[in-house]
C-alpha cells in the first residue's frame, strides 16, 4: 500500500529483526524478540547527471552566452559533473575578498548570541524598571487616598455648614432689623447696612469685655495656685 502511494521513489522494504541487518545501521541484537521493524529506505529518483555526454561550455568562445562563463555556472558544472567538468575546486569557495565581504556583512547583520542575550536582558530590565516605577507611584498615591478622601468630605461638610450658618445669620439680621425698624426692610438698603454695622460693633465690644474678664481670671488663678503650691 505504501509502495503504491509513493510510486517509484520508495519501496525497498527491509525486514529488520534479529539477525537480518538492513543497510541502515541498526543494532540487530538490540531489538526485542518477535517485533518486526519495517523500514522503507529512501529510494530516490535517479539523478540524471548525464556524465557520458556533458556540456562544458567554451570559456574563450564568442558564441557562448555570458551566463555560461560566470562563477555560479562553474560551480553548478562541478556540482553536476565533478572533476570531469575541469573546474578547479578552489573556485567553489568564496575568494578572499568575497569572504571578507561576507564576514563584514555577517558581523553587521548577525550579532553573536551573547550580544543578543545582553540586548534582551537590557530591554527586559528597562521594561521591568518602568513597570516597577509605575506601580510604586500608584501605591504611593493610593496610600494618600484615605486622607484625601477625608479632607474632601470635610471640606464639603464645612462648606455646607458655612452656607447654612450664613443663611441663619441673614435671617437673624433680617428679624433684628424688622424688630428695630418695625417693618420689613430691604437688606440691600443703606439703613440696613448701618444697622448691621452697629450690631457688629456691639458684638465686638462684648467680645473685648469677655476677653478682659478671662485674662483677669487667668491672671488671678496662677497667683492663687502659686501660693497654694509654695505652702
Amino acid at each position: 500500500m505504501a509502495t503504491s502511494l509513493l510510486g517509484r521513489r520508495t519501496a525497498i522494504f527491509c525486514w529488520a529483526f534479529r539477525g537480518i541487518l538492513p543497510t541502515t545501521s541498526v543494532l540487530s541484537d538490540s531489538f526485542p524478540r518477535g517485533i518486526l521493524h519495517q523500514i522503507a529506505n529512501y529510494n530516490p529518483k535517479p539523478l540524471k547527471l548525464n556524465l557520458k555526454d556533458p556540456y562544458i561550455p567554451d570559456k574563450e568562445g564568442q558564441k557562448t552566452p555570458e551566463w555560461q562563463k560566470t562563477l555560479k555556472y562553474d560551480r553548478k558544472l562541478y556540482g553536476r559533473y565533478g572533476s570531469a567538468s575541469g573546474i578547479d575546486p578552489e573556485k567553489l569557495w568564496p575568494s578572499p575578498a568575497k569572504l571578507e565581504e561576507i564576514i563584514a556583512e555577517e558581523r553587521e547583520w548577525n550579532p553573536s548570541l551573547e550580544v543578543m542575550l545582553e540586548n534582551i536582558g537590557a530591554r527586559e530590565k528597562e521594561l521591568a524598571a518602568k513597570r516597577l516605577a509605575k506601580e510604586k507611584l500608584i501605591a504611593a498615591n493610593m496610600a494618600k487616598m484615605p486622607k484625601m478622601v477625608a479632607d474632601w468630605r470635610k471640606e464639603k461638610r464645612d462648606t455646607k455648614m458655612k452656607a447654612r450658618e450664613d443663611k441663619d445669620k441673614r435671617a437673624r439680621l433680617l428679624a433684628e432689623a424688622r424688630e428695630r425698624f418695625g417693618f420689613a426692610i430691604d437688606p440691600r438698603s443703606a439703613r440696613f447696612q448701618e444697622m448691621v454695622g452697629e450690631i457688629e460693633k456691639e458684638e465686638r465690644k462684648k467680645k473685648k469685655l469677655m476677653k478682659r474678664k478671662l485674662k483677669i481670671e487667668q491672671s488671678l488663678t496662677p497667683v492663687a495656685e502659686a501660693p497654694a503650691a509654695s505652702t
Binding site: 520508495t10 522494504f13 519495517q38 523500514i39 539523478l47 553536476r80 559533473y81 578572499p96 553573536s112 543578543m116
Partner: protein
C-alpha cells in the same frame, strides 16, 4: 501421470480462455458511479435550465461577490485595524500531528532507529515545506498524543508542551532548532543543493525575538543548557504524571543523544564542505580563513 491439482483451478482456466482485457470489457461496480446531472434537459429541467427569468441572473452577468447594488458593501464599510498588518511576512510553521508521525513510522516511511529530522520527514513525504512562502519549518501538534507510542529522536522547529511530554514519555528525545530560510531550503532539498556545487552554509542564529524561545529549556531549545533541559524533563514528567524513562540505560542511547551543533545543518556534514554527487566525494576547505569562518 498423477492427478495434480492446478493452482488456481477453474478460475485460471477461465482467465486463460477469455479475451484480452480492454476498455471495452471493463465496467464499474454497480453503485460506484452516479450519472452526471445534465442541465437543460427534460420538461422540468429544460426551458430556462434553472437560471431564472431574464436579467443578469439568466444572462450570467451578475456583479462581483460582495457588491450590494451600489450601497457601501459590508466588506468595505468596516474599518481596518492592525490585526492583519504584515500577515504575509509572519513566519509560518507547518503543523505535524503526532498521529501523522505515528502513521509514518508505522508504515515505515520514517525510520525511528535514526534521528528524525526535517529532511527525513520530507524524504518520507510526511509533509511539504515551502521555504519561499515564509515557512520556517515544522511544528509538532498535540493531536494523537494519547496514541503515540514510538521512541524517537526528533528535531523540529516548534513544539507544544503536550507533544514534548508525549515523546519523552515513550523514552524519546525532542529538540527544537532554528533554521534560517536558506538553511531550511538546503535541509528540505539537499540533493538539488549539492548539485549546485556550493559549500554547505552555516546556520544563522535566530533573531532577537526567537532567542528567548530557543534558549529556554522548557521548549527543549537547541541553545539551552543541557542540565536545565534534564530538570525540565523531570518537571514535565511530574506535571503530566508519567515516569520519565532513563534513556542512558537504553540500547539506542547513542542514537538518542545525537544532536546537531548550532551551526550544523546535516548530521555528519560540517558547514564549508562541498559534496560531489557525481564521484561520491566530499571536499573540505583547507584555507585558514575559510576554516575560521566556517567554524565560527
Amino acid at each position: 501421470m498423477s492427478l495434480t491439482k492446478k493452482p488456481g483451478g477453474k478460475a485460471l482456466e477461465i482467465l486463460q480462455n477469455l479475451p484480452r482485457i480492454t476498455l471495452a470489457n471493463l465496467r464499474a461496480d454497480p453503485g460506484t458511479k452516479k450519472a452526471e446531472k445534465k442541465r437543460g434537459r427534460g420538461q422540468h429541467g429544460g426551458n430556462r435550465s434553472g437560471r431564472g427569468h431574464k436579467g443578469e441572473r439568466q444572462r450570467g452577468n451578475r456583479p462581483r461577490l460582495g457588491f450590494e447594488g451600489g450601497q457601501s458593501p459590508f466588506y468595505l464599510s468596516i474599518p481596518k485595524y492592525g490585526y492583519n498588518d504584515g500577515h504575509s511576512r509572519r513566519p509560518q510553521y507547518q503543523p505535524l500531528s503526532l498521529k501523522r508521525l505515528q502513521y509514518l513510522i508505522d508504515l515505515g516511511r520514517v525510520d525511528p532507529t535514526q534521528p528524525i529530522d526535517l529532511t527525513q520527514l520530507v524524504n518520507g513525504r510526511g509533509l511539504t515545506i515551502q521555504p519561499l512562502k515564509r515557512d520556517y519549518g515544522v511544528q509538532l501538534v498535540d493531536e494523537g498524543a494519547d496514541i503515540f507510542a514510538a521512541k524517537v529522536n526528533i528535531e523540529v522547529q516548534m513544539a507544544s508542551e503536550g507533544t514534548i511530554a508525549a515523546i519523552e514519555r515513550n523514552g524519546g528525545v525532542i529538540t527544537t532548532g532554528f533554521y534560517d530560510p536558506r538553511s531550511l531550503t538546503v535541509l528540505c532539498k539537499p540533493v538539488p543543493f549539492f548539485l549546485t556545487g556550493q559549500p554547505i552554509p552555516k546556520r544563522i542564529l535566530p533573531g532577537e525575538n526567537l532567542v528567548p524561545y530557543y534558549t529556554d529549556a522548557v521548549n527543549r531549545g537547541y541553545l539551552a543548557d543541557p542540565e536545565k533541559i534534564q530538570q525540565a524533563r523531570l518537571a514535565l514528567a511530574k506535571k503530566y504524571g508519567y515516569i520519565l524513562p532513563d534513556i542512558s540505560k537504553d540500547e539506542l542511547y547513542h542514537m538518542l543523544s545525537m544532536r546537531k551543533d548550532m551551526r550544523q545543518i546535516f548530521f555528519g556534514l560540517s558547514p564549508g564542505w562541498v559534496v560531489n554527487m557525481a564521484e561520491k566525494k566530499i571536499l573540505k576547505p583547507v584555507d585558514k580563513e575559510l576554516l575560521r569562518y566556517y567554524n565560527s
